[in-house]
């Protein structure tokens, strides 16, 4: 098992396009780290640099304490699962899984036992004689996992491995990969654009945007204490509501003025953002923290636009004159499109962001 350390890693393509900028990440032994971010954020490029499939333009990469910048992929003792599986179409499942071991000249008996063992773990023993074209998407993904497992590498790399699967199978494979991590106790780096995958699987999440790491932390750290507006909006489903408010002092209290609605800040929040009185800030409120008030008190006055009943809960899309908001409410509350509805934010869990820098304002 191994650690992976990225020190000031950068990737600049021909023509000066900077894909990754000054990435510093430490992946501890046996840790499951997920790189997450929107398309083009540099997460796959970073993973490919770890794999040795992309040259590293700047910085140093260490695997198990050894500098591997110039070490070819085959000598890094890694295994990678690709988005499109990358199974060799002309080989059987057995040969696909055994290919790496054959090249490394393992004894035939050892190869057989490793392939059988991996096939047993992944429940694909009956598929060993088939060619990839005779397999379903989920089975192919298992074979791709099997090909990685048999090598018993120091580090497993996953490049959006579940993207090509349907929603149900994705949930199932997600759980299986997590179980595999627990079973193998290996270091794993996993790339995805799906924040739900990141939240459910990761020990540690690295959020990236435009080649720059935005925040590194455990799923709940990122959820509860996002470093900036991007992380706050990216992590969590449905995403966080952002309300631009003007802060003003009124009778010794600090009021966040949304336009139609006024929200009185808590004393500790008021103390922290007092110096911003008279200026705009962005108030971040999670959908589950926007509580419907059936008595229609002095909260945020809205109009119901869209209702999405999910069974266990209902997503209600509402709007004020300036903002579109989402609230997660119990299924027992019935709305109709066009209804007037008042919501109260749970202020204790609200976050504040600077309008210009978009960084979190500590409160």
């Amino acid at each position: 098992m191994a650690t992976v350390e990225l020190k000031n890693i950068g990737k600049v393509y021909e023509g000066g396009v900077r894909a990754v900028d000054n990435a510093n990440i430490t992946v501890n032994d046996r840790e499951f780290v997920v790189f997450v971010g929107p398309s083009g954020c540099g997460k796959t490029t970073t993973l490919r640099m770890v794999a040795g499939l992309e040259d590293i333009t700047e910085g140093e990469l260490y695997i198990d304490g050894n500098l591997v910048n110039d070490v070819p992929p085959k000598d890094r003792d890694i295994a990678m699962v690709f988005q499109n599986y990358a199974l060799y179409p002309h080989m059987t499942v057995y040969d696909n899984m055994a290919f790496g071991l054959k090249i490394r000249k393992y004894p035939k008996a050892e190869i057989q036992s490793r392939v059988k063992e991996a096939a047993g773990v992944l429940e694909i023993e009956e598929l060993l004689d088939r060619k990839p074209k005779a397999l379903s998407g989920g089975q192919r993904q298992r074979v791709a996992l099997g090909r990685a497992i048999v090598r018993k590498p120091k580090v497993f790399l996953f490049d959006e491995p579940l993207s090509n699967l349907d929603a149900k199978l994705r949930v199932q494979m997600r759980a299986e990969i997590s179980a595999l991590h627990t079973r193998l106790q290996s270091t794993m780096i996993y790339v995805t654009h799906d924040q739900v995958e990141a939240m459910t699987m990761a020990d540690k999440i690295v959020v990236m945007k435009s080649g720059v790491i935005q925040q590194i932390g455990t799923p709940l750290e990122l959820y509860n204490n996002p470093a900036n507006r991007f992380v706050a909006g990216f992590i969590g489903s449905p995403p966080m509501n952002f309300i631009t408010v003007k802060l003003r002092e009124e009778a010794g209290k600090l009021i966040a003025d949304e336009g139609d609605s006024q929200i009185e800040l808590l004393p500790r929040q008021a103390a922290a953002v007092k110096n911003l009185a008279g200026k705009d800030v962005v108030l971040g409120i999670r959908p589950e923290d926007l509580i419907y008030d059936d008595k229609g008190g002095r909260g945020i006055r809205t109009r119901v636009e869209v209702i999405e009943p999910l069974g266990a809960s209902t997503h209600v899309y509402v709007s004020t004159k300036k903002h579109q908001l989402i609230s997660v409410v119990p299924p027992t509350i019935q709305f109709k499109v066009g209804d007037e509805a008042v919501f109260h934010p749970i202020l204790d869990r609200a976050r504040f962001f600077d309008v210009e820098t978009e960084q979190t304002i500590p409160v």
């Binding site: 070819p72 992929p73 988005q83 060799y88 002309h90 090249i103 090598r151």
Partner: protein, 290 residues
Amino acid sequence: MRRDIAARAPANSASRIRGAIAGILGNAVLGIFSLTCVFPIVWMFYSSLKTQTQFALSTLSLPVRPILDNYVAAIQSHMGLYLLNTLRNTAISVALIVLLSFVTGYFLSRFRFRGRNLLYAYFLIGMLIPIHALLVPMFIQLKTAGLLDSWYTLLLPYVGFGLPIGIVLAESYVGGIPRELEEAAAIDGSGFSRTLFTIIMPLAAPVLAAIAIIQSFAVWNEFPFALILITSDQWITAPVGLSTVFRSEHFTDYPGLMAGIMTTMVPVLIVYFLFSNRIMKGMTAGAVKG
């Protein structure tokens, strides 16, 4: 409403009759065209079973008493040697064309380097130059280099002229093979050559088969270079042999010539019927990427 339908009925039947006549005429034209394609081969076959006298009396009539003497004579003449020469030229040229097309096509497809587009255009232009335009320069070139009239003489132009289309087809096909396969192989520990020949080459088998088949026909039937560059009897190829063995200054043994042509056609026909599906695929290979 009902009146409308009643009025339309005769018009419909008239158009049906017109359609049927057009269909019959169309099929008749195609049938006649097919006959004009097939008849020469049929005619050649039954003429090869005639004696020279029978052939001279009526060129189109069926043989009165079919004989195989012309085939025995053709095989016993130098045609056997000429066929062997053709077979050797075809086997070596096609093997070289397939191998070099694959490797060059792979590099052009996978690597972006300075001059790559120029090189690709160079190969494309190679497809446009007619062989006949290069007969004289090629003759002078090989004569100067002392490469004329040898067992390997014809291999050079055959490979040279076969490569452009092979490279263009291979380049296009390799472009559709996912790059991740090579990356997966690299991570599995496979070196460059091993990946090229054990992962990519088997996946490119359809296009390589197509190249092999197309070039087999081209080399097997090639005439101008074989006529100009070879003078020794021992290296003459079948197409050139056919034009000399059965002809003298004042006389042509037509039934013998037909038997000779039928003999040289047999390997080509076998290849065609065995691989006709692949040939069709090969004709359109590279037309659509992916």
